[in-house]
Amino acid sequence: SQRAWSGAGLCRGRGGSRGKNEYDLLVIGGGSGGLACAKEAAQFGRKVAVLDYVEPSPQGTIWGLGGTCVNVGCIPKKLMHQAALLGSALKDAQHYGWNISQPVHHTWSVMAQAVQNYVKSLNWGHRVQLQDKKVKYFNVKGSFADPHTVRGLTKAGKETVITADNIVIATGGRPKYPTDIAGAREYGITSDDLFWLKESPGKTLVVGASYVSLECAGFLTGIGLDTTVMMRSIPLRGFDQQMASLVTEHMESYGTKFLKRCFPTKVEKLKSNRLQVTWKNADLNKEETDSFDTVMWAVGRAPDTKTLNLETIGVKTNSETGKIIVDASEATSVPHIYAVGDITEGRPELTPTAIAAGKLLAQRLFGQSSELMDYDNVPTTVFTPLEYGCVGLSEEAAVQRHGSDNIEVYHAYYKPLEFTVAERDAAQCYMKMVCLREREQRILGLHFIGPNAGEVIQGFALGIKCGATYPQMMKTVGIHPTCAEEVTKLHITKRSGLDATVTGC
């Protein structure tokens, strides 16, 4: 259903001086948000251009059109996660009767080439799509000359000047490098480089507690590499912390080493070409050291705004994060200039939200729509070896918002049927549903750890969006035998203190 006009913000960007500027819409950044916005605008018959440019990483890695998700994010991550899962499946297979000689070995270069080739096919696919939808594409690095003019520089330094009635900034983010650790930039890599390595990273230290860190460390462990995660404090900040602990607990039993409450102080290169890392162990209050083949920084991502020249034209950014401040209609502080995706302050750093926001923006600018992007109840999944999917509020957020007396948490430890014959430990397979206690008992949040968590949560996200209640969930019949059916059977409350282990048949 269409949202009502919320006021002044939506009036901007319409009836721009057609004909004075070269394009109706210029999008800076050819990633998830930018491409979606550009293609949608072109559907309305508008003259649209996209600028995309990849600044090489400090290690020299570059990639093609499509943005972070396609090239150094979701896509290669999920494929490598799959490679690791297949390794576990091969181990399980013996129990199911398959004659597979153990141990099974993994060859990085075979996986990497296959993944990289697929990504390259996506780069091409995006290029063709822009062409088909008549969107002009420039492989240039853009910077603002004035609110309607952008200067684009090619790799060779050639300049193009582009003018547009409306401009959307969708340049996304890049991994941060620590600034106070000697050798960090010189010897370390980030996720920008990991997926494009031609040779195995070998014994790897992943520094960080983000989902980038845990997902990468997870699949590196899964393909048989000696992998260590170094965390300064809590894992998966911002996520439900009970679930985050279960995720890291599983990773430990899976074989990933954890250095908790540690932070690196320096990285040096050894004669053997290995990297010597020295760190401070806060618990033991001493310095420790070890050598690795690869050190990967996963200590956060920073918005890509440095070279855009935003200060000159007055686009306001958050002083702490550097991200562009936008209102509910994705408008910046400058009329006719908008922003979508990872570059925007306070939004989830997810592909689907960037795409949806980009499309809705185009529809509001050129398609007589007034619908705003709804950022509530966005489902997501962390693709660690045992996956964690969620939608809605974490238990902590629900308690903070409503008070612990006003919420009920239903939970269960379950065992996936597939784990039984394979003799796999299911200690961390767990789910919980956070509901309001009063009246209809609306579901505020759903959290699931287990195989195929993303597939499980996706369907329930629709229910949450529609305001589903606990009684409605209990009336929903489960599909048997699945893990997802346990969601429809949740009945043990945390409040009762009873043992939450449930059995299947």
Partner: protein, 141 residues
């Protein structure tokens, strides 16, 4: 290595030509003479559009599995035509603008060019008989 140098001298090709890019030695000199990698837009103009002989243009990509099957098969069939038709190979990642200009979307895409015009086209893998028919039509027409 010796074969590579001999062939290079034979054709006076720059070292960064077909052999360098492919890293694969052609089996016969006939195949060598009739197949080449397009270097850039003006090379395409010279050797394809301005060619006195008809040219089949193989748009391919390093990441494309079927291209690795069609490429050698087409080269073989072109060589069989004894110089009556030439084959130009275009890597769409190296020459994206050219590929876009000729409306390539899926790969492999093969264009038949005669006197500067695209007179025929196919997309995807074809067997040897189909390729021979395609080439004979181009030569004959």
């Amino acid at each position: 290595m010796a074969q590579r140098l001999a062939l290079q001298r034979l054709l006076s090709l720059p070292l960064r030509g077909p052999l360098a890019s492919h890293g694969r030695a052609f089996g016969t000199s006939a195949r060598l003479r009739s197949t080449f990698n397009v270097q850039d837009g003006s090379d395409f103009q010279d050797r394809v559009l301005n060619s006195s002989k008809p040219v089949v243009v193989d748009f391919h990509a390093q990441w494309c599995g079927p291209c690795k099957i069609l490429g050698p098969r087409l080269e073989k069939m072109v060589a069989k035509q004894e110089g009556k038709v030439l084959m130009a190979k275009v890597d769409i990642d190296d020459h994206t603008d050219l590929a876009i200009e000729y409306e390539v979307s899926a790969v492999p895409t093969v264009l038949a060019v005669k006197n500067g015009d695209v007179v025929d086209k196919f997309v995807g893998i074809k067997d040897e008989d189909q390729l021979e028919a395609f080439l004979k039509k181009l030569i004959g027409a």
